[in-house]
């Protein structure tokens, strides 16, 4: 499987994604420059973390004018799997590929730390290798990761099983204490209705090497492969 990791100016987790993915037999990862207008030849696309185009005005907003995003939209519309991590999630929301928006963290500060996530659905190409209710320990690193959507949108997301990950404690309980950034419904990651576009704030690529304290992120990439 060949995965394209988009490099926007200001991306800074692109290389990390390539390093993490290349540990999986059967998976190869390549950087995809933002000025490319095609994603032909790739089986999956990752929009990595960072500060695309400086994240000025609003996080993720500038990417909508990049040539590669046009191609990514077509790829997604054709059912291709697209994974947005952190800034990638923000880009997916700003580009209309996912509903809702990501706003400033509740306490107004950037937060970098390990979080626990409860896997809510396993019927997607990104979570099928996990078990339902499984708890993953994966770090976050963001200043604007508080997921917001209005009540109708939230109801919609729930009805269609689009909430894939929620911030929980290590036993799977949800509360405001286990919600690091004030996201509505403790949402850490959602997919589109067609289930082929997935955005999450935590960084699975940072949880693939035992030397870094957790390998729980592997299940996301393993899912993509299987």
């Amino acid at each position: 499987m060949k995965v394209g990791v988009v490099r926007f100016p200001g991306s800074n987790c692109d290389q990390d994604c390539v390093v993490a993915l290349s540990q999986f037999p059967g998976m190869s990862a390549e950087i995809l420059w933002h000025k490319e207008d095609t994603v032909a030849g790739f089986d999956a696309i990752i929009l990595p973390g960072g500060f695309s185009y400086g994240d000025y005005l609003r996080c993720g907003v500038s990417a909508r004018f990049s040539p590669v995003m046009g191609a990514v939209k077509d790829f997604a519309a054709a059912g291709g799997p697209v994974l947005g991590v952190c800034n990638g999630f923000q880009i997916l929301c700003e580009s209309g590929l996912l509903p809702g928006a990501l706003v400033r963290n509740r306490d107004l500060r950037f937060i970098c730390e390990h979080t626990h996530l409860r896997v809510e659905r396993t019927d997607t190409p990104f979570t099928r290798a996990a078990s339902s209710g499984q708890i993953l320990r994966i770090p976050i690193a963001h200043g604007e990761g508080c997921y917001f959507a209005d009540n109708d949108t939230l109801r919609d997301l729930r009805e269609h099983g689009q909430v894939l990950l929620r911030y929980s404690d290590e036993r799977g309980y949800l509360s405001q204490e286990t919600n690091p950034n004030g996201s509505r419904d403790n949402i850490a990651g959602i997919c589109n209705r067609e289930r082929n576009v997935f955005g999450l704030m935590p960084h699975p690529e940072r949880a693939c090497d035992p030397l870094l304290g957790s390998t729980d992120g592997r299940v996301i990439f393993q899912s993509l492969l299987s």
């Binding site: 609003r58 706003v103 107004l108 959507a149 209005d150 004030g182």
Partner: protein
């Protein structure tokens, strides 16, 4: 040269932690009577020619603000 100010504010239904923090700081600094505070953006645009009103409105709605979380208003200075 026409100048336009687009003000973008968080929607009332969206939490505005920055507004809350600012209100707290203002009270702490001894200013009496501070109630609700909201913090948004002020975007001042100098135009080289009079902008197309409909287009400007579109840009303010879709680009300068995100309708999921923000409202906007446009003010044209003479």
């Amino acid at each position: 040269m026409p100048k336009v100010i687009v003000t973008v504010m968080p929607k009332p239904s969206v939490l505005d932690p920055q507004g809350v923090a600012t209100a707290k700081l203002m009270k702490q600094s001894g200013l009496a009577g501070v109630g609700r505070v909201r913090v948004g953006k002020s975007i001042e645009i100098e135009f080289e020619s009079t902008p197309d009103a409909a287009k400007l409105e579109g840009v303010a709605r879709d680009l300068l603000s995100n309708p999921v979380i923000e409202d906007f208003r446009i003010e044209t200075l003479p």
